[in-house]
Amino acid sequence: MAEVKCAFVVQKPQYKGETSRLAITHAISYQTVEILLEDDDTVTPALCFIGEGVLGLEKGQQAAKDVYGISSTESHIMNSCLVDLEVLVCKEDMEKYGISEDSMPDAEEMGADVKVQVVPMADIKKRIDESRHVLVF
């Protein structure tokens, strides 16, 4: 079995930044990559938000409703939790922008086992070090 660990590092805000949103959807696609791989091969991504990338993650976003009619970053994060994706958000950068840990979305009510993890930058660096490939968005 060949497991390849990857880190998707998002360092730009998601609204009107297409690539930072694409980082999320590319990471989520790990759920179906096995149809293109040999038996027992896997890709294990982690979605890491650092710097300005921590902006736009908070729950209660109205973008999908009457405001802009686009999918919200919140829904993407909830979907990430639903597919057991490891989502790490930099604690220091959240503090820098005055964002509380309580404001992070989760998909517990939808049955997700995984939650967004607010962690020190040192933990994100450790996950990056463990990764074979790092993709910076």
């Binding site: 060949a2 390849v4 990857c6 930044g17 297409e18 690539t19 694409l22 959807t25 590319h26 989520i28 696609s29 790990y30 759920q31 179906t32 990559v33 149809i35 293109l36 791989l37 091969d41 890709v43 991504p45 490939h133 993709l135 910076v136 968005f137």
Partner: protein, 119 residues
């Protein structure tokens, strides 16, 4: 020789990142590496067939055809491409259309992954 997976995200216009990505891919292929290119975001505009390569205008078709002739594998993100109004039957022949897991599968087997550009 190694396997390279290159994610190309920038559009044809605005900076030289798209041009660099294709030159880089060609140089790697000429050196004997296996090269796969994943087009996503604004880069997907370049997969439309029948581009007129006028002097001073940024186009992609002839460069992409040359890369494929050399054996570079190219795939475009179907969602990004149709979102820009390009249908599959309007695309350059030989370019694959797929979803994002195509790129992750190439990442799995790659020795090196390059992610180029974006807005």
């Amino acid at each position: 020789m190694g396997k390279l997976a290159i994610g190309v995200f920038p559009g044809l216009v605005g900076n030289m990142a798209y041009d660099f990505a294709l030159k880089f891919a060609e140089a790697a292929k000429d050196k004997g590496h296996d090269v796969s290119i994943w087009m996503s975001g604004n880069a997907t505009v370049s997969v439309k067939a029948n581009q007129k390569h006028l002097l001073d205008y940024s186009t992609g078709e002839k460069h992409l055809l040359r890369l494929m002739e050399k054996g570079v594998e190219i795939c475009t993100c179907e969602a990004c491409t149709v979102a820009r109004g390009i249908r599959k039957d309007e695309g350059i022949e030989g370019i694959q259309w797929s979803a994002m897991h195509w790129f992750l599968a190439r990442v799995h087997s790659a020795d090196r992954v390059f992610l180029i550009g974006g807005e």
